[in-house]
């Protein structure tokens, strides 16, 4: 009998063995270049990058704990794991050390890793005050350095297999969102949309959502329905109200612009996608846009213009700062969501438009085979908001769009909303 459908453990066009080899070589190369003797990694994405260990996903950050050790002298990877389940055969059982609640036992296990105690430069990817006190007893002669910067440098440019993983993850999210878009109708609670999304990704083998997603009707006025006073209208028109990140009991109403934005992690890789649809009038097939047709079309046109400006900057040699400038030149108001961020094993730099990080943006120069998730949110008073995401791979000359249908879903699968948002 067939024991697995390979939906969770493989992706089209991916050579997992080659991906592991090439990823490790990049991390190891950065260790050599920076003369780092050992890495002590706590972050799940870093541990996965060097080991490809498939470990239980839990939401949110965890305080730093040494979950993975890489030694330059021997090229060996050691993992904090009580079992070898999900751990590639290249990592022998002798390289596992057991999960424990006891920091002393953990330090003892680390001291037994051959060669770690002799390391002179050790990279750590995060910290806690407790580990700051304990780690020196494991690497008494070492200078500790920023191992997160090292790992991000290794992870920045993607291998062909990583790009295939990203494509696969994006495809899962897009297919799932198209199923959700097809059920957008008056009376549908937002949480129903979230439920359908999660069902659809798991059915396709991606059981981990990168986020619980945004499934919400966008506000049509700046302060949740209250009519703005004349005095403040101008300001508010320029500043979209925030999107709600937690799906609620709110029931969709005709004319709502509904944002469906989510991502999955497939083989660890993040696939982001977004659909924005108009909730059709009650009993309608969706062809009638409830009198909002031209306004929505104008909103979408604004979105397209701004997104085009971003995409045009996505090529080798441009910097993250160029992306932000392109956005600002488009005349759009300050972004309520980050404009762009790197994707790979989750979210990574460059981060564009999420706060006062101008120095970071200028230093982040795009290179071929970096992958960026771009998102633009356009909003108009009395209309609502349109959010769209496009994931691009940087090439020497332009942006290779990995998103299959960035603007609208395929008419054949969209049911009630098939007429919406042609530009």
């Amino acid at each position: 009998m067939r024991r697995s459908t390979d939906a969770t453990t493989t992706a089209a066009g991916v050579d997992l063995e080659r991906m592991r080899r090439e990823r490790f070589a990049r991390a190891f190369g950065e260790m050599e270049r920076r003369e780092v003797d050992a890495l002590v990694l706590g972050r799940a994405a870093n541990a996965r990058y060097v080991s490809d260990a498939r470990r239980l996903w839990v939401a949110g950050t965890r305080p730093f704990a040494p979950g993975c050790v890489v030694l330059r002298a021997t090229g060996q990877v050691y993992l904090l794991s009580a079992t070898d389940d999900g751990i590639p055969a290249e990592i022998p059982r002798a390289n596992l050390y057991c999960t424990t609640w006891n920091p002393e036992k953990l330090m003892h296990a680390l001291r037994r890793i051959p060669g770690l105690a002799e390391a002179r430069r050790v990279g750590i990817d995060a910290a806690t005050p407790l580990m700051n006190d304990l780690l020196p007893s494991v690497v008494p002669r070492a200078e500790l350095v920023n191992g997160e910067a090292l790992m991000l440098a290794a992870r920045r440019v993607k291998t062909r297999d990583e790009i295939a993983c990203l494509r696969s993850a994006i495809a899962i999210t897009e297919a799932a969102l198209d199923e959700v878009a097809a059920i957008v109708r008056p009376g549908c609670p937002e949480r129903h949309l979230a439920g359908v999304f999660h069902e659809a990704i798991c059915r396709r083998g991606a059981t981990i959502a990168a986020t619980d997603g945004i499934f919400c009707a966008t506000p049509r006025t700046a302060r949740g329905g209250a009519a703005p006073t004349d005095e403040t209208t101008e300001t508010w028109r320029g500043t979209p109200p925030p999107l709600r990140g937690v799906a609620s009991d709110r029931v969709l109403e005709p004319g709502d612009l509904v944002v469906l934005s989510a991502g999955v992690l497939h083989l660890g890789y993040e696939g982001d996608a977004t659909r924005t649809c108009a909730c059709p009038p009650r009993g309608s097939s969706g062809d009638d846009l409830h009198g909002h047709g031209p306004a929505i079309e104008a909103l979408h046109h604004e979105w397209q213009r701004t997104m085009d400006a971003l995409v045009a900057e996505c090529r080798a040699g441009r910097s993250a700062a160029d992306l932000r400038r392109a956005y600002e030149r488009s005349g759009a108001p300050p972004p309520v969501l980050p404009l762009a961020y790197g994707v790979g094993l989750g979210v990574e730099p460059p981060i564009v438009g999420a706060g006062g990080e101008k120095a970071h943006e200028a230093a982040q120069v795009l290179e071929p085979d970096m992958v960026l998730s771009l998102q633009v949110y356009a909003w108009r008073e009395n209309v609502g908001g349109y959010l769209g995401t496009i994931v691009v791979r940087i090439t020497e000359r332009d942006a290779d769009v990995l998103t299959a249908s960035p603007v609208r879903w395929d008419a054949g699968s969209s049911g009630a909303n098939s007429a919406f948002l042609d530009s």
């Binding site: 697995s4 459908t5 059982r93 910290a127 407790l130 500790l144 997160e148 949480r191 619980d212 937690v246």
Partner: protein, 406 residues
């Protein structure tokens, strides 16, 4: 699509009171332990301090788009740094609601330090931190040379270990939603279904029912009859937890199920043993295992009351089954739950008996009991119950059938 459970709108949960109670506890512990400020990055801690609804997400996303809380000992209102001010956080006064901080970036750490200097209003102070990015590790003491940087976890753990009535209500609702969803999943447990199909059904149901987050990749672990038939383990015990895949389940497969979802940040913890079949049957040895598991649970529950220690719990569990340890030794026999799905108190861990003796139960503590009964050749029974420590004993917050074992 179906309606949310009617008790979802019970008036018992008062979020203003919830927020005020938590803030007071946090600041009391800061004062007791001599902390001037807490800068909190962990989702549970931020939610405890501010009541911001933080969408569940992968660690990498929260690292780069963090929601961060700053609690000052003398200020009853916390500061929140976020890109997505939600309904709850919008209640904060404007001078306490700030643009997001970016502690992953070196330039971001300088901004963190500047905000701390400004808002604490001093250069010499004791700062508690729960998590640090590498950039913070190497930059924060440089930018705050006169600050004393300390571990925030003694403060947060002490504040969070005893739950307020509103916190208990959130946990109860999370558990209730989790259990309701499981009724549908268990009904679908027939040969040919894949582990990921069970996740599909489960997650659809929990979001439909009103859960606000999923906190762990659902576990539908196949349990071998013999340890050697399963994956290798360093402990020599049965491997747990194992990551779900798209494995196709077969008639008679024994499953250990473990899931955790969120309700306004509070975690559920569901654990049961199931059998894959349209008409599941359980043989006598496995029924006997379940009865022993039930005896351990009963012994634990009978021990739970204010003043009892963690060591009393481990002894009661041992005594119920003779000389074997009726839990997985690299985990625990009981753990707390709240804004994190496994938090203090932890009982029966490898921190040892002395650690267990120092855990003294008090009203308002939550204990998730998770004994495991294992017999080579038979397999094992694992299940979880959630108990609230009350003034006189305990109250169960979990209420799910043991079918097909009873």
């Amino acid at each position: 699509m179906r309606a949310a459970p009617s008790n979802d709108r019970a008036p018992i949960l008062d979020r203003t009171r919830l927020r005020d109670d938590r803030g007071r506890r946090l600041r009391d512990e800061m004062a007791r332990r001599g902390y001037d400020a807490l800068l909190l990055l962990g989702r549970g801690n931020v939610q405890y301090a501010t009541d911001a609804d933080i969408p569940a997400a992968d660690a990498s996303r929260l690292n780069h788009f963090p929601t961060i809380a700053l609690v000052l000992r003398e200020d009853p209102v916390p500061h929140l740094f976020t890109a997505l001010p939600d309904d709850g956080a919008c209640d904060l006064p404007g001078d306490h609601l700030h643009e997001p901080l970016l502690p992953e970036l070196e330039s971001g750490v300088a901004a963190v330090a500047a905000q701390l200097r400004l808002l604490v209003g001093a250069s010499s102070f004791t700062l508690g931190l729960d998590e640090m990015s590498a950039a913070m590790r190497f930059g924060l003491s440089r930018d705050l040379p006169r600050a004393t940087i300390a571990d925030a976890s003694p403060v947060t753990a002490a504040a969070r270990i005893v739950k307020t009535p509103d916190e208990v209500e959130c946990i109860r609702r999370a558990q209730h939603l989790n259990e309701l969803a499981m009724l549908d999943v268990q009904a679908a447990l027939v040969p040919g279904i894949r582990q990921c199909d069970l996740s599909a059904l489960f997650l659809q149901q929990v979001f439909e029912l009103g859960a606000t987050a999923n906190y762990v990749n659902p576990i539908w672990q196949l349990v071998p009859a013999r340890i050697a038939d399963g994956p290798f383990t360093l402990t020599g015990e049965v491997a747990f937890p194992l990551v779900s895949t798209d494995r196709v389940l077969a008639e008679g497969d024994l499953l250990w199920v473990d899931t955790g979802i969120g309700y306004h940040g509070y975690a559920s913890d569901f654990g049961r043993t199931w059998v894959v079949s349209a008409r599941p049957e359980v043989d006598a040895p496995r029924r006997a295992q379940f009865r022993r598991w039930r005896e351990v649970i009963d012994a634990l529950l009978a021990t739970i009351r204010p003043g009892a220690t963690g060591a009393d719990l481990t002894r009661a569990a041992h005594d119920a089954v003779g000389d074997r340890t009726p839990w997985l030794r690299h985990l625990y026999v009981a753990h707390g739950a709240g804004l994190d799905s496994a938090e203090m108190p932890l009982v029966g861990t490898d921190l040892g008996e002395e650690f267990d003796r120092q855990i003294v139960l008090a009203p308002g503590m939550i204990l998730v009991l998770e004994p495991v009964i294992w017999d080579e050749g038979v397999g094992g029974y694992r299940g979880e119950e959630i108990a609230l420590v009350t003034d006189s004993g305990y109250r169960l917050l979990s209420d799910y059938t043991y079918a097909p074992f009873n």
